[in-house]
């Protein structure tokens, strides 16, 4: 038998004592600790939750959302959260499940009221027929997960967040509903303005690096005529880029949009076809000109308004 002075006995005793310590949880009128996977979601959570929530994003917005590094602070935030809001459609598949598994937080487990997947009710675009990696290593079997780029779908996101908050904190029903109503009213007003500004460009063509802007294009009647990536996650060959340049010239492409990591490539192709390279994150950010969902969409609309060709 293991003797009592075996190192493991001491370790076990220490662990049992630590485990017996009371865990911290939200109680009473303390704000709900809301953790979101993107700054967009944090902004919407703050708008709908008002003073009843403290929302923080796990990312700053400029990352590749498919490859976020799981840092200690992310795990700590998840372990203490009352509510987790994720985009879904596999946007966070490479990092969130491992964090959730280790966080061991019963309040935000998938299937509980504190877990909000805002892709509920979204009809995904660009769902691939070929759901294997032959269609590209970064193939998204469930479709394009960047539906936050469509203000119409931001309404659905807000609806899902409202439903989640009501399930977790029903006592604040009227406050949440009123905040939601105000958000929707502002969204409608802003969307009308954005549509009016981009209406003259209806049918205009642009190019993107990776499948991202399909929802934005559909929202405002624009056309994505090519992608710099031949397949999701595959670097373009010179032949592919030559074809893209040819298409860009034929279609009078005004904009080539890319994430910060692919800015150099976008600029190079844009220079060859007389377009403008536009570098954009795929969410609003925690800092800078694109902090806040409305500010982010306004920033995109302004860039497109300036550079699209009629």
């Amino acid at each position: 038998m293991l003797s009592m002075n075996h190192p493991l006995c001491g370790l076990s005793l220490a662990l049992i004592l630590l485990a017996a310590a009371p865990s911290v949880s939200a109680a009473g009128d303390e704000p709900l600790r809301v953790v979101t996977t993107t700054p967009d979601l944090a902004d919407l959570a703050r708008r709908i939750g008002g003073a009843r929530v403290e929302a923080v994003s796990l990312t700053s917005g400029t990352e590749d959302f498919h490859a976020v590094r799981a840092r200690p602070s992310l795990l700590v935030r998840l372990s203490r959260a009352d509510v987790l809001i994720e985009m879904g459609l596999d946007l966070e598949h490479s990092w969130l499940p491992a964090l959730l598994q280790s966080a061991r937080n019963d309040r935000i487990r998938p299937g509980t009221p504190g877990f909000i997947n805002v892709s509920s009710g979204i009809v995904p675009l660009e769902v691939p027929d070929d759901k294997t990696r032959k269609a590209g290593p970064d193939n998204h079997p469930q479709g394009n997960p960047h539906f936050n780029l469509s203000p119409t779908r931001a309404r659905t996101i807000a609806d899902n967040i409202l439903a989640g908050f009501l399930a977790v904190a029903p006592a604040h029903r009227e406050e949440f509903a009123e905040n939601h109503r105000r958000f929707v009213a502002e969204l409608e007003t802003r969307l009308a303005g954005w549509r009016e500004r981009l209406a003259p460009f209806r049918g205009a063509a642009f190019i993107e690096h990776h499948s991202s802007f399909a929802y934005f294009a559909e929202e405002f009647g624009l056309r994505i005529v090519a992608k710099l990536e031949p397949k999701p996650g595959v670097s373009p060959s010179p032949d592919h880029l030559a074809r893209v340049v040819e298409i860009a010239k034929q279609e009078r492409v005004g904009i080539i949009v890319a994430r910060p990591a692919n800015a150099d490539l976008a600029k190079k192709v844009a220079a060859e076809c007389g377009a403008t390279a536009v570098v954009l994150p795929l969410s609003s950010t925690t800092e800078g000109d694109t902090a806040g969902y409305f500010e982010y969409i306004e920033h995109i609309v302004a860039l497109f308004e300036k550079s699209l060709k009629r």
């Binding site: 293991l2 190192p7 493991l8 370790l11 076990s12 662990l15 630590l18 485990a19 865990s23 700053s60 400029t62 990352e63 590749d64 490859a67 976020v68 799981a70 840092r71 200690p72 602070s73 795990l75 700590v76 372990s79 879904g88 459609l89 490479s94 491992a98 280790s102 061991r104 998938p110 299937g111 909000i116 997947n117 892709s119 509920s120 009710g121 979204i122 009809v123 990696r133 469930q142 119409t152 309404r155 659905t156 609806d159 899902n160 409202l162 439903a163 009501l166 399930a167 029903p170 029903r173 939601h180 109503r181 929707v184 409608e188 969307l191 929802y215 559909e218 929202e219 009647g221 910060p260």
Partner: protein
């Protein structure tokens, strides 16, 4: 099976579904009015336990009316036909075997996730390197992984590796996570022991071709065993955490698929390398403590300390001569990682220091051959130290350039030491398809040939190709 009326298209969500968003639909259109707040501030989307409020009833009534109209329209021609045709209606057609319940014993619904990883190496070098094992093409491992949930309490993980010499059960363990409270988890079975940063990694997950030489020398490469391991972690403030694991093992030994190094050619399963089966009082014990900090938004620092104590009893000159042979290894590790979140690139600096304190028995058969009476068995202890350091710069998620090196005193003779230094370039065509070119030099690498020990000075160039098929884990690097 009938689907839930409000089932979501996305995984994991059981939230009430909001109306499907229709592209281009005007948010001000009347058909969205149902989402507007009802008089008195009633909720437009009810929570789970208030589904029977007036909003739902109104919506339900509208839906029922619509369905009745649709059903009426579709049934009308059939009813008209029945008036003139007395033939009884045909039984409902089968719509597919899968829709009719349990019709097969080969249901794949609860199949586990599978992965298949191929790790291929081609090595060339000087004569000493060829002597050490760098002598051409090698299927280092073809590894089959099977993972899945047993029930609501347990997951089961199995890893079987094929090498050119054997088929080996690398891991087969069950792990309980949610079944245990307070962030404890318990692993039981055969598994890679939680010791240091690189020992527990499978070879295809390493940042270099082989495990650092000091790990090969003191732990045998991957420290693997059969037993149980308890894990627990806790936050330390807002940006750091503390993790501890402790285990007991009956069968603990090193496993290596190293191409070059002190453990090359010492795969688990070699009879000479088979570890002794321990009695209960001689169980090996392991412990790891580690803490991770966010230094900045983009960089983390990790300190770790690990310990292995493996008491063993062996027979000396005969079965009445039982001797204690103990092995202890202490390790400290430090890892700093900076990630450029925009590009997926970054920089990693890592080092591990190990101290080995091991007993070695020597049988002296100087007397009459076959007669143990005048044989002698001597147990001697030896302490030795070693370390490695590694740096890898990744300008993007596809490319990595690095260098690593280390020195270790031989575990059985600390007066002798071995050093190595190497550089490597890693290119990932994708996350699942990776090439690595490595150039490494060893000085005084211990090597035994036909019972004669001679140190080798190796210089080898290796090309490693790793492909991953199927399920791939994204576990935490902690």
């Amino acid at each position: 099976m009938a689907s839930e009326p409000n089932s979501s298209r996305s995984r994991g969500s059981h939230r009430p579904v909001s109306p499907r968003s229709h592209p281009g639909r005007d948010l001000r259109s009347p058909d969205r009015d149902w989402l507007r707040p009802y008089p008195g501030g009633a909720c437009p989307i009810p929570p789970h336990h208030h589904r029977t409020n007036s909003c739902v009833l109104i919506r339900g009534a509208r839906l029922a009316i619509a369905l009745l109209i649709l059903c009426g329209a579709s049934l009308a021609p059939r009813l008209a036909a029945q008036e003139t045709d007395p033939t009884p209606p045909a039984p409902a057609q089968r719509v597919g075997i899968g829709d009719l319940g349990q019709t097969t014993v080969l249901d794949g619904t609860f199949n586990p996730a599978f992965s298949f990883v191929g790790d291929f190496v081609a090595s060339w070098g000087n004569e000493d390197a060829r002597e050490a094992g760098a002598d051409g093409f090698l299927v280092r491992t073809a590894e089959l992984g099977i993972f899945g949930a047993v029930d609501d309490a347990l997951e089961f993980h199995g890893v079987v590796a094929y090498t050119e010499e054997e088929v080996e059960l690398e891991e087969a363990y069950a792990i309980a996570r949610d079944w245990l409270p307070h962030r404890f988890s318990l692993k039981g079975g055969r598994y890679n022991v939680d010791f240091g940063k690189q020992s527990a990694l499978h070879d295809h997950d390493l940042p270099t071709l082989d495990k650092p030489a000091v790990l090969q020398e003191y732990l045998g490469g991957t420290l693997r065993g059969t037993g149980a391991e308890l894990h627990w972690w806790s936050p330390l403030g807002d940006t750091s955490l503390f993790r501890v694991s402790g285990g007991i093992l009956q069968d603990a030994d090193g496993d290596s698929h190293a191409v070059i190094g002190p453990a090359a050619g010492h795969e688990h399963g070699d009879e000479e390398e088979e570890s002794p089966i321990r009695d209960v009082e001689d169980f090996a014990a392991t412990l790891r403590l580690t803490t991770l900090f966010d230094v900045t938004e983009s960089s983390t620092l990790q300190f770790g300390a690990s310990a292995l104590h493996a008491p063993t009893s062996v027979f000396g000159v005969d079965e009445t001569d039982e001797r204690d042979i103990d092995q202890a290894v202490l390790g400290g590790d430090l890892t700093w990682t900076c990630v450029d979140e925009e590009t997926g690139g970054g920089l990693t600096l890592q080092g591990e220091f190990l101290h080995s304190d091991a007993d070695f028995g020597t049988l002296d058969e100087a007397g009459t051959p076959g007669d143990p009476v005048d044989d002698s068995f001597t147990v001697m202890g030896e302490s030795a130290n070693g370390f490695y350091a590694l740096a890898e710069y990744r300008p993007s998620r596809r490319w990595g350039f690095g260098a690593s090196g280390g020195v270790f005193e031989h575990a059985e003779d600390a007066d002798e030491d071995t050093s190595d230094i190497g550089v490597f370039v890693t290119w990932k065509r994708s996350e699942f398809n990776r090439l690595r070119l490595e150039v490494r030099s060893y000085a005084d690498l211990p090597h035994e040939d036909d019972g004669i020990e001679e140190p080798l000075d190796c210089f080898a160039v290796s090309l490693q190709w790793t492909v991953i098929l199927g399920s791939h884990g994204h576990g935490l690097d902690w």
